[in-house]
């Protein structure tokens, strides 16, 4: 059933460009039916432990399998709920741009992929959807692809997330190798196999690489702010509420299997803490609306990862609640930012003070979202922060207190950002004077969704203590760590305790910071990992060109030289590893005896070759080459193969004749190689010659098994009815070879004719006077 829905979803995605022609600007409203029905499906089904399995690749034991456990189910509900209102928003938003069809194609594909991730039970099918989110995100970030920066950002996110996906894949493969199954429930059930296994550190590291690249954790955080090149609905949906949470989801999903591992928790703690502080600091020194939000998103993801790393029951409960709070207020604020940018055609927060009168509805949403972000009672954000603080207090260790401090700092910065998005951007009763007067409130289609999300955050905060809400969220936390089930407490009032006091201090410090921090832009990077990315790219490109120039010199002599050397080296390696067939001195102790006339023939070959090497005349070279051929023919005669010798003689004669005919038509011979460059080639030739000689004398030293000889000797007369064995072999035993060779001749002849007949239609005519190198 789930597979069916997902497949239909993909089909809808691919149809959206066509649907766009019918539905026009209401395409998003039409398509919103898809997440809506997914949501209704999930709600009607309820969570369950049933696994739905479809065989995918039987040989590799890979299935499409899905489940609706508490974690996946609630994530699914969250994602589809957001998707509905993002689709509604995007419907209006995209009517201002061309290409809504392909936009919704990618968005639908993304939504499907995200649902696939949260509902997958098999790690390989999870990986499929994982990559699909990366890819659809790539298309969406690059939506305005005629901008260079858009393309660059899209490429960056693709390289980082798909690159991280490769590590993830290797981790999954190793995991599957150890456990013997890719089904997550099997992995969890057999986690004992992982304990103490030498693969485990690698598995943990590799899977975390996947999660951290996707969730923009330090040192891979930098792609996320650049991803803001995408249209606003995408930023709100993919890059705050859902896709970047995929990494967090993966950590949660694998927590029962890997959470016991110290590397796992330590990496999460460290990288989460750095990410959190880095994002928080950056968010207050950015002026671009979406960049501010992107950095707070990075920070929030860091918080979630860090508390997952802390790993106490209450910390995990806190991480889950905070995840929900963040999703609601961040989506709200992104849409608010989108509306402001759309209405005012300005994205610099410094120019945008006081828009409340112009945009009251957007302003209201912004206030509600910001209050949740700041952690004001009774919003969901308040509950999240309470739990975060409370869990750190409860853990009580030194690390927990350090974390508490760091969380406090980030939360204070969150308050600053929240105030900028409410008090500054939408001060009640304020009037914007800097922009055109007609920059009024946007249509309902664009204000509905931010209002829904912001009210959602408020409502959940208010009704959180109701049993059915609390139970669901607690059940989700319980899937990650069973003990966490007890620790989810969404009551608003717990009396005056450390967490509450710290919350109040956070608000005060945040307010003071807001008053005293200048709104200024500082792009000076705190850490240089984005720099390293660009350095990696440019070094890669430099290395590539350097390497290309080194390899492809364009000189045939270099190519042939390297090729021959390669063969010699391989022969050397073979002899070195496997050993000589027969020791060389043993072979050489019995030097063959050659009569005088043979010695002359044998000696004439190297002499002839030497002449070729030093001559400057083509005719001389050809004739001396002829000497080599004729000498060979004589040797054939001596060894009892007159027919081969005759063939050789014929070929040699013809070659010499043809060459001489052609040669005088060619331009004068010139040496292009550097004067002493030939020495190197001479050495290579010599080494090659020696290596071949070595191989030949080794082969000659052993007797040829003559299974074939005997058969051919008998059968050629008796069965082939021919007296000349060679002839019978050629035209009967191996007639197929001969036919093939005839075909070769025919093709070669055709080739020659076509070369002679065809005129070059581009260059040759012009350059025929130039010398051909």
């Amino acid at each position: 059933m789930i597979l069916l829905i997902l497949s239909i979803g993909l089909l809808i995605a691919f149809l959206s460009p066509s649907l766009h022609r019918i539905a026009k600007d209401n395409l998003g409203l039409l398509l919103a039916i898809y997440p809506l029905s997914f949501l209704l499906f999930l709600l009607s089904r309820g969570s369950s432990a049933t696994v739905e399995t479809h065989t995918w690749i039987e040989r590799f034991n890979i299935n499409f399998s899905f489940q609706l456990n508490e974690l996946g189910w609630l994530f699914g509900v969250l994602v589809s709920f957001f998707a509905i209102f993002i689709f509604v928003y995007a419907s209006k938003y995209m009517s201002y741009y061309k290409g809504a069809g392909r936009f919704f194609l990618a968005l639908c594909m993304f939504f499907t992929a995200m649902m696939g991730i949260v509902l997958s039970e098999n790690l390989i099918s999870l990986f499929l959807f994982w990559e699909m989110t990366s890819f659809s995100s790539f298309l969406l970030i690059g939506f305005f692809h005629e901008d260079e920066s858009s393309r660059r950002s899209a490429m960056q996110s693709m390289v980082i997330t798909v690159g991280g996906g490769l590590f993830f894949l290797l981790g999954v493969l190793l995991l599957g190798h150890v456990v013997g199954s890719y089904e997550i429930r099997d992995v969890i059930a057999q986690k004992d196999l992982l304990i103490g296994h030498s693969f485990t550190p690698y598995i943990v590291g590799l899977i975390l690489m996947g999660a951290m690249t996707k969730s923009a954790q330090f040192p891979f955080h930098f792609w996320l702010p650049n991803a803001m090149a995408a249209p606003t609905p995408v930023s709100a949906f993919l890059h705050s509420a859902t896709m970047v949470k995929a990494g967090v989801f993966l950590v949660m999903r694998m927590y029962p299997a890997l959470g016991w591992n110290e590397i796992f928790t330590t990496v999460l703690l460290l990288s989460g803490a750095i990410t959190m502080l880095l994002g928080a600091w950056r968010s207050v020194v950015r002026l671009e609306l979406k960049a501010i939000l992107a950095n707070t998103t990075i920070s929030a993801l860091g918080i979630i990862m860090m508390f997952l790393g802390l790993g106490t029951a209450k910390a995990i409960a806190a991480a889950v609640v905070f995840l929900f709070a963040h999703a609601f207020y961040k989506a709200t604020l992104f849409l608010v930012a989108g509306n402001v940018i759309k209405a005012k055609k300005d994205k610099n927060i410094g120019n945008l003070a006081g828009n409340f009168k112009d945009m009251p509805q957007t302003g209201l949403a912004s206030w509600l979202g910001a209050l949740s972000m700041a952690g004001m009672i009774p919003f969901l954000g308040f509950l999240g922060k309470e739990l975060l603080y409370g869990s750190a207090f409860e853990a009580g260790s030194l690390i927990a207190y350090i974390l508490l401090g760091a969380t406090f700092i980030s939360s204070a910065f969150f308050v600053v950002v929240a105030l900028r998005f409410s008090w500054y951007l939408f001060k009640p009763g304020s009037q914007d004077t800097g922009h055109e007067l007609n920059s009024k409130e946007l249509p309902f289609g664009l204000t509905l969704s931010p209002l829904v999300f912001s009210i959602g955050g408020l409502t959940l905060g208010l009704i959180g203590s109701l049993a059915f809400v609390q139970d669901k969220i607690a059940a989700m936390a319980g899937t990650i760590l069973p003990e966490a089930f007890e620790k989810v407490d969404l009551g608003l009032w717990h009396g005056i305790n450390g967490a509450l006091i710290l919350s109040i201090i956070t608000l005060i410090v945040g307010f003071l910071l807001f008053k005293n921090l200048n709104m200024r832009e500082s792009k000076r990077p705190v850490v240089g990992s984005e720099k390293s990315y660009f350095a990696f790219l440019s070094n890669m490109n430099k290395l590539a060109s350097f390497h290309y120039q080194q390899m492809q010199t364009g000189y045939l002599r270099n190519y042939l030289g390297v090729t021959l050397l390669f063969l010699v080296v391989m022969i050397g390696v073979a002899v070195y590893i496997v050993g000589q067939p027969a020791p060389l001195n043993e072979i050489l102790t019995v030097p063959p005896e050659y009569p005088f006339y043979q010695q002359v023939i044998i000696l004439s070959i190297p002499i002839a070759v030497g002449i070729i090497f030093f001559t400057n005349s083509r005719v001389k070279a050809i004739i001396t080459l002829g000497i080599v051929g004729f000498s060979l023919a004589l040797i054939f005669i001596y060894y009892g193969a007159p027919d081969v010798a005759i063939t050789q003689l014929l070929v040699e004669t013809l070659t010499v004749v043809f060459f001489v005919i052609i040669l005088h038509k060619l331009p004068e011979f010139k040496t292009f190689a550097p004067k002493y460059g030939n020495v190197g080639y001479f050495v290579i030739s010599l080494i090659f010659g020696l290596a071949m000689t070595y191989v030949m004398i080794q082969v000659m030293y052993f007797d040829i098994p003559d299974t074939l000889k005997g058969y051919f000797g008998e059968a050629s007369y008796l069965e082939g009815k021919g007296k000349n064995i060679v002839n019978v072999i050629l035209v009967d035993f191996r007639a197929l070879d001969t036919m093939g060779e005839i075909a070769v001749l025919a093709i070669a002849a055709t080739g020659v004719i076509s070369m002679l007949r065809l005129k070059d239609h581009s260059e040759l005519n012009k350059s025929s006077n130039k010398k051909v190198s």
């Binding site: 690749i57 039987e58 040989r59 590799f60 990559e131 890819f135 692809h145 005629e146 490429m155 690159g163 490769l166 290797l170 493969l173 599957g176 290395l543 590539a544 390497h547 390899m551 492809q552 045939l556 042939l560 390297v562 390669f566 063969l567 391989m570 022969i571 073979a574 002899v575 496997v578 050993g579 067939p581 027969a582 080794q698 082969v699 000659m700 052993f702 040829i704 098994p705 003559d706 299974t707 074939l708 000889k709 009967d732 035993f733 191996r734 070879d737 093939g740 060779e741 070769v744 093709i747 070669a748 055709t750 080739g751 070369m755 065809l758 005129k759 070059d760 581009s762 260059e763 040759l764």
Partner: protein
């Protein structure tokens, strides 16, 4: 007489080629005959695959001379599949050629030579005889020379000279290898050699003969550091020729390597393995870097061929049944995807008369269909599931994990980053970037659309039917590993002492 299917598959391109060479036959008829030959070959080879999947191996002796004396023609699962894939890629390449080959070239028998190239390739896949393989190689190479040089432009001649010189050298080494092999084993029949070679002492001699074949096939397959000829020549001829040559020729090298080192030289893998892994690693990296440095799209994908060859060489020398199966799937995937990349970028290039990435742009806007095609095929190349490249990679990686070859598979995985980079480079520059000069949009000729759709469809289909295809490939890999089936089919019930 199921063996006739093999003959049918070989005769189809052969007869089409011969008819095309007849004097006074019009270009129109050359085209028709070639198309007919390709389709007939496709039918025969499909039937062959179905039949071979039932019985395991089909073989016969040319001229009826019994093995090991005569020439054996053998179709096992691997061979049959390769022939089928050859015919599948030949079809869109041919259709592309109908539209794009320059008129003069057609007069000069482009299509018949194309058919002979297909013949040589299919013959190489089907022969069970080492010397006969040499002959098929000759047919294949001479046809490819002619296709490469046809058109006579200066850069073609320059490229072809390098191609010719190095490939003739490779053929010579191949021939020397056959000589050495005959010298030590007294036979050229592969099945017979599979029985004889493991018995031969001293081992050093067998190793020496293996080196010659490794280097000769390595040159054909374009491994590091002997791949020079490929990037010098592949981008020069017409797109149809580049497609078929680029998709298939290097893979024939891989096929023969796979065949030789599974059937005859299996015990050589142990000493060669780590050395070959080093070579394979350099091949992957070097090809990937080379691709990244290019601005000519044909040249870029020529280097990409090299990079992918590294993966296959690695798989052959992992040397388990699973690895062989993975290599076979990778071969099928790579032939189709590489062919598709050449076809699609070729269509763009031919249609806009520009193969330069720097000058190109805007295709996503003007020809969205081609952009979609490129994305599908490019993501297959990168190995994004559920597309075919993923399963190739998956198979190779898991074969590597099982045999504990960690360093080489880590490199294989890391090189995927290079693949992503050059895939994106082409996409950004050719498809997404706004063109410098906006040209008026001309509709795509229908032959381009057919050719592109056919090849993209086949790339999609091997992903959709991944399960049965992988099943077949894994079975083919096991056949290679066990080899008894092959030997028995050729030699009858001989005493097999392996």
């Amino acid at each position: 007489m199921k063996e006739n299917l093999i003959i049918g598959a070989l005769l189809s391109p052969f007869v089409a080629g011969i008819i095309g060479l007849l004097p006074n036959i019009s270009v129109q008829w050359q085209k028709r005959v070639s198309l007919l030959g390709t389709i007939s070959m496709m039918i025969f080879s499909s039937l062959l695959v179905i039949e071979v999947d039932k019985v395991g191996v089909l073989s016969f002796q040319a001229g009826g001379w019994e093995a090991p004396y005569g020439i054996s023609i053998v179709a096992d699962r691997l061979s049959a599949l390769m022939v089928l894939v050859t015919s599948i890629i030949a079809f869109p390449a041919l259709i592309l050629g109908f539209e794009s080959v320059h008129k003069d070239r057609k007069v000069a028998k482009f299509f018949p030579i194309f058919m002979f190239l297909i013949l040589g390739i299919s013959g190489s896949f089907l022969t069970g005889d080492v010397f006969n393989l040499f002959v098929w190689f000759e047919i294949m190479l001479i046809s490819s020379f002619v296709l490469l040089v046809m058109g006579n432009s200066k850069k073609q001649v320059k490229g072809t000279i390098k191609y010719l010189a190095i490939n003739v050298l490779s053929s010579t080494l191949f021939l020397v290898g056959i000589g050495v092999l005959y010298g030590i084993a007294g036979s050229v029949n592969m099945a017979h050699l599979a029985l004889v070679l493991p018995e031969i002492e001293p081992k050093g001699l067998v190793a020496l003969s293996a080196v010659f074949f490794f280097v000769a096939f390595g040159i054909k397959a374009a491994i590091f550091p002997v791949y020079f000829w490929l990037p010098s020549s592949y981008h020069t001829p017409s797109t149809a020729a580049t497609t078929i040559i680029g998709a298939l020729l290097t893979k024939v090298g891989i096929y023969t390597m796979l065949r030789f080192f599974s059937l005859m030289y299996y015990d050589q893998i142990s000493w060669m393995q780590q050395i070959v892994f080093v070579i394979a690693a350099f091949t992957m990296i070097s090809g990937g870097l080379g691709a990244l440095a290019q601005t000519n799209v044909k040249k870029l994908f020529s280097f990409s061929i090299i990079s992918q060859i590294g993966y296959m060489v690695m798989g052959v020398f992992i040397g388990t049944a699973a690895a062989f199966g993975a290599v076979i799937y990778f071969l099928v995937h790579n032939i189709l995807v590489k062919g598709a990349l050449f076809i699609i970028t070729g269509i763009v290039g031919e249609h806009t008369r520009n193969f330069d990435l720097k000058k190109g742009g805007g295709i996503a806007k003007t020809y969205p269909l081609l952009a979609v095609f490129y994305l599908i095929v490019g993501l297959s190349l990168v190995g994004i599931p559920p597309l075919s490249g993923f399963w190739g990679k998956f198979g190779l990686l898991s074969a590597g994990i099982i045999t504990e070859q960690y360093w080489i598979i880590s490199i294989a995985l890391a090189v995927s980053v290079l693949t992503i980079l050059y895939f994106l480079k082409v996409w950004n520059e050719y498809f997404w970037k706004a063109p410098k000069v906006t040209k008026t949009k001309r509709p795509l000729p229908y032959k381009f659309v057919i050719s592109g759709s056919a090849i993209v469809l086949s790339v999609i289909l091997i992903a959709v039917f991944a399960d049965p295809i992988i099943n077949y490939c894994v079975q083919a890999g096991e056949d290679l590993f066990n080899k008894n089936l092959y030997i028995k089919s050729v030699l009858g019930d001989v005493e097999i002492s392996i």
